[in-house]
Subunit: 407 residues, 2 copies
């Protein structure tokens, strides 16, 4: 089964934004068993959209479009595409009703009305995280899905509506994907270890997806090769045992949340270099108030002293970025919030502030779980953002590992 | 002048990698004054490349391709494209010589030889950071540049060779962009106000780029229309005066940093609903320790009481999400960190925890600048992430506005 992705929007053509929507959709379609033939971006201009449809529909079974479904005048996708397939737009009460409820209004603006229009004979999928619904138009040989361009909304509709729909309507052989999520080990080290482990020919099934502090190792191929793929996965799992925190796609913050909840443990966090990012990440998870009491961002020395009772002597003797300060931040925040588990981080994110002895990228991470605690020292490379992101991921991962040992 | 980008490679179609090459090329071409009409990705398969060329060359002046120039068997771009334009491949001594020197060899492998082949009548650009040269084929109306897919090599050839070449050979006019960044007003409200303000025909110059809590209104067009574009910009600026925080592309956190620094003011933050995200954002900016002392994440009631001295009575009578609690968090954090400026936020991010009286999306934001302070109440729509992102952006914006009034 062949698929095409059509993203509509000037901001991609002018290079202002990177087309992450397309790669997200492509990877989802690929894992469903589709062969993606085209990824195309054109402007939100009628003739351009029509030419694009002529081109891609000559050689595909399904099309997924994103963008141009909003309520403003430059959002023309729905009109043009419906017209292309010879369909009128029809007002759907159910969508209107949903939007009215959502906005708590009885009054109906023109722009809201336009969101409730669907091509005749088409189907629609209510957008629970935004306003513009997803739309499906079927012609003789083609199914075309229209999705909004806002990534969160696109993802919601794709995962909750479109993929189940495709799975139901197509008899496709799924591709198999094993995803091993690792932390505290760089991509190049993983690659070198794996390269020696499995034979050269089998390396083609293995992909590496690095972000800052987390690297996904993905083994994928068609279902008919499941046996071989499982064998590769098991070899890699054994080799990378110390670094794997998830087989699947859950995030560090979801997994730490589950573990803390299961143990009835409560977490507190003392942040310096990350300025609150670790707390922000932990509380991304709904219900995190069950196991997260709070934290302190002690960006200045005076706040480290006053709130976390780091000693002035320690700061003077060892500096704010030191094992000693990190350790006192860790015990300080545990005491302040009276928690069993805590994280403390201090470091130099740069670009300024580094010295020869304490260069940019030097980070101390302390974690505590019940009666156990450790402080680790890292020299991260990269820019400010990369260093901070790594600190967030490493700190959560280290707590996860310590929690395991704490039984 | 119209441009198209054709990226050739299976790894983009399977979603394994994000097409950052295309956005890099697009932004460079756009700022040179080109209008990018297509960004297209197809597989490295002859028929797919030929169909793609038929499609894009119907409507463009220049094409930039990436990928498929390497020495391996699946790198077929050069052969297929040359063939498409009816050109034979010819061996170029200069390239061969360069590669021999580079590898310090007199011997010449087949794969090296293939790198030295250039379409008859074509030009080439030596690749000083890799092996495959960039290639230019001209036909009657079109210039087509082939670049390797390795980002570093593509960037080198584009910046050092292709852009100078284009600047020399085309009489192009640069594009003008005015970008107005707004906050605390939804896209749809902006649209409705602008729609009534400027005539329908001029709306085509205006684009809307919303994220959660910040909407960019962008006026862009060619340099010859500068007068008209400036007029539109001025009209919009007057209409949206209360919501604009930047003419350009700087972020809220950069601007608040600059203001705080200029006033010699120090900031502290008390976060509940955002869990540390505001502090994370403020400290994204290098040097933020100059004006950010720190913050407290009081996710639990007990931490609000213990650390910020919110009164138990208040929490019992009005609840954690109330104007009263927000106000006490604001004064509590100002006192704790002894700062002139502070932010305090409390709210319900959902999906659980909402009631009829206090629904998901209810957020109180308090800001204080010297002797002035205000508390605002919002009912945000959207999911957990959208509500939290809006809270971050709105809170920084509100402080920015209050700082202006504080003289």
């Amino acid at each position: 089964m062949r698929a095409s992705i059509l993203t509509i929007g000037n901001e991609i053509l002018s290079g202002r934004i990177i087309n992450t929507n397309a790669s997200f959709i492509a990877s989802k379609l690929y894992s469903l068993g589709f062969k993606v033939n085209h990824i195309l971006t054109v402007a939100d201009k009628a003739t351009d959209i029509i030419n694009a449809l002529d081109y891609i529909t000559a050689d595909t079974d399904i099309v997924v479009t994103t963008g141009g479904l909003g309520p403003t005048s430059d959002d023309i996708s729905k009109k043009v595409i419906s017209n292309y397939f010879g369909r009128e737009l029809i007002f759907k009460d159910e969508i209107a009703h949903y939007l009215k409820n959502k906005f708590g209004t009885t009054d109906f603006s023109e722009s809201m009305k336009s969101q409730a229009m669907v091509p005749a004979g088409g189907e629609y999928f209510i957008n629970k995280v935004g306003t513009a619904p997803g739309i499906l138009v079927r012609s003789k040989n083609i199914m075309l899905f229209m999705l909004p361009g806002v990534p969160k909304e696109m993802k919601y509709l794709l995962e909750e509506e479109i993929i189940p729909y495709l799975t139901e309507h197509f008899d496709i052989e799924e591709n198999i994907i094993f995803n091993l999520r690792t932390s505290t080990i760089p991509e190049i080290k993983i690659y070198n270890r794996i390269k020696e482990l499995i034979n050269k020919n089998d390396l083609k099934f293995v992909g590496f997806y690095p972000s800052y502090g987390v690297v996904d190792v993905r083994i994928s191929g068609s279902k008919s090769e499941e046996g071989k793929l499982s064998k590769i996965r098991d070899l890699i799992k054994r080799e990378l045992y110390d670094y794997i925190f998830e087989e699947g796609f859950r995030n560090l913050e979801e997994i730490i949340g589950e573990r803390l909840r299961n143990k009835g443990a409560i977490l507190s966090i003392a942040e310096s270099i990350t300025g609150g990012m670790i707390g922000g990440r932990i509380t991304d998870v709904p219900g995190s108030s069950d196991y997260f009491s709070g934290g302190v961002v002690t960006y200045s020395n005076s706040s480290k002293i006053k709130i976390l009772h780091v000693s002035e002597d320690t700061l003077e003797k060892y500096g704010a970025v030191s094992e000693e300060t990190c350790s006192q931040m860790l015990s300080g925040v545990s005491t302040l919030f009276n928690t069993d588990c805590s994280i403390a981080v201090t470091g130099i994110a740069g670009p300024g502030g580094g010295t020869k002895k304490k260069p940019v990228g030097l980070v101390y991470i302390g974690v505590r779980a019940f009666d156990k605690s450790i402080i680790k020292r890292y020299n991260f490379s990269g820019n400010r953002n990369m260093i901070r992101e790594r600190t967030v991921n490493y700190s959560i991962y280290l707590l996860l590992k310590l929690l395991e040992k704490a039984g």
